[in-house]
């Protein structure tokens, strides 16, 4: 039992997912090497999805306890998918498109991620290994030796094989930078461009669409960008300070100076904090939906917990192939090297399910980090139970030239509502640019 690829022929032919898979039928099948074994993959798909499609759940070991780790979010938010790629350590497999001939190695494990003898650290410290308050809590020479050993063997990767040369960063100057090419970001960039200002739209994904890219029930075309918008995909914003934002585009740095910075970074997903929440095979519903849109089913026996939009989309796309527990909460995941079940609770009832993929649509949260870095004031929202950048009716924050729009501001809404918000914020950016 493992994740695997599915074919359009496995699905009802009239389903949106089948149409999506046919429309995106892989043109270039390639092979990558994973720890010495060949893996069939599709050029351009996320490397972590390709590895899942080949049935690989465990990619690495955690730093302290050497617990098995695998992709959980497929969105660059967890630590599950770090690999050594072509001799370079700590590459996020979920954010890296597949190219033919890639050499992928598990890291931080001895001898391999699937079998790591240092896992004894985990059993040795059943509660936790507290290296910050070590001597207070643990006595005994054996414990101390074990901690030294564990900590020495831990850490992230080892140095690259070779010294790489980095070309000088590209410098770009625009009136406005929009980060995030989902429904709101595209609408915002379009509004700014149509008003005559220069605008750069960037997204770390391989194209526009944001959340809609990962909805297996959504096969409608994404609204396009105005020709006057410069769009860069595969370009993630990684830091922003004053009017300057650093992008990572194809492994190269791009420094963007912009008079206005708009953050349309949407929401993050998480699975929640329950025992064994880090076991490979525990996924966010969005990760499972994202993989499915690439034709990879994240397990043979899939249990979907929660009733959010991605859970509903998965159930709509997969029907009886998944077990849905819309009102349940996860008490704990079961399994050591990979998930093999879960204890669920709903009201007074507690029960166990068997599964090889535990898919959770939990509370999402605003991806506020870049807006916060840019200077926007970030406040706790009791309603959304997360931090949200403060903004006025149009999406302007307290910090001049910094704006937020779309799901980041409101939580998940229908795509057309997000697009309207983006256009509203775009109009405000234009007014402010003219006024300044």
């Amino acid at each position: 039992m493992a994740p695997r690829r599915i074919l359009p022929a496995d699905l009802p032919p009239d389903s949106a997912l089948a149409r999506r898979l046919v429309a995106h039928r892989p043109t270039a099948r390639v092979t990558v090497d994973h720890d010495g074994s060949p893996v069939d993959a599709v050029a351009g798909e996320p490397l972590a999805v390709a590895l899942l499609g080949a049935g690989t759940l465990t990619l690495a070991r955690s730093v302290k306890y050497h617990r098995p780790r695998g992709a959980m979010c497929l969105r660059g938010d967890c630590d599950g998918c770090l690999v050594r790629l072509d001799g370079v350590p700590n590459v996020m497999a979920c954010q890296t498109p597949v190219r033919a001939g890639m050499v992928v190695q598990s890291q931080n494990a001895f001898p391999t991620a699937g079998l790591d003898v240092l896992r004894v650290t985990d059993w040795f410290f059943p509660k936790h290994l507290d290296h910050h308050h070590l001597l207070v809590q643990f006595g005994g020479a054996l414990n101390r030796t074990m901690q030294v050993f564990a900590r020495r063997m831990a850490g992230l990767g080892t140095l690259p094989d070779a010294v790489a040369a980095f070309p000088r960063a590209e410098l770009v100057a625009v009136d406005a930078l929009v980060v995030g090419a989902g429904s709101s970001g595209v609408a915002c960039a379009n509004a700014i461009a149509r008003g005559g200002a220069s605008v750069l739209l960037v997204d770390e994904r391989e194209g526009p669409g944001g959340t809609r890219r990962d909805d297996p029930t959504d096969d409608a075309a994404y609204p396009g960008c105005d020709p006057a918008v410069t769009a860069r995909y595969g370009a993630g914003a990684v830091a922003t300070y004053e009017d300057e934002t650093l992008l990572l585009h194809d492994g190269r740095g791009v420094s963007v100076r912009a008079r206005a910075r708009v953050f349309a970074t949407g929401c993050r997903e998480s699975v929640g904090t329950f025992p064994q929440n880090d076991v490979p095979g525990v996924f966010t519903a969005r990760a499972c939906a994202l993989a499915l849109c690439h034709g990879v089913l994240c397990g043979e026996r899939v249990v979907v917990v929660g009733d959010g939009p991605f859970a509903r989309a998965l159930v709509a796309a997969l029907g009886a192939r998944v077990t849905h527990a819309p009102g349940a909460a996860v008490v704990e995941a079961l399994g050591g090297r990979a998930v093999r079940g879960a204890t669920l609770r709903e009201g007074a009832r507690t029960w166990k399910v068997k599964c090889d993929a535990l898919v959770i649509d939990g509370e999402d949260s605003a991806a506020y980090e870049l807006a916060g870095q840019a200077g926007a004031r970030v406040l706790w929202s009791d309603g959304r139970r997360c931090f949200v950048p403060e903004s006025d009716a149009d999406g302007a924050t307290n910090y001049t030239g910094v704006y937020v729009t779309g799901s980041l501001r409101w939580g998940r809404r229908a795509p057309d509502a997000r697009a309207r918000d983006g256009a509203l914020t775009g109009a405000r950016v234009l007014r402010d640019l003219e006024g300044r």
Binding site: M72, R168, L246, T273, E369, L370, Q373, F387
Partner: protein, 91 residues
Amino acid sequence: MTAKAMLCRCEDVTLDEVMEALDAGHHDIESVKRYTGFGTGWCQGKQCVLACARLLAQVTGRAPEMPITPRPPLHPVPLGVLASLGGDEEG
């Protein structure tokens, strides 16, 4: 099998450890971070700051305070990229 609940996956900080910090009187994100080391790993808090904030809201019944400044970079960046930005000198 050791049933740890991971609050911070990058640094292997468990829910137990964070509860201990709360018991020791640390009721804001910054001091829980300093006490347990959560949020200092590779993801720079993209998952765990929120998990900690929600826990604090639940335990204390108060809105958690402004989180620790979300530090750059958002994702890991090769040092070579940072060096490629150069300084004021011509490159």
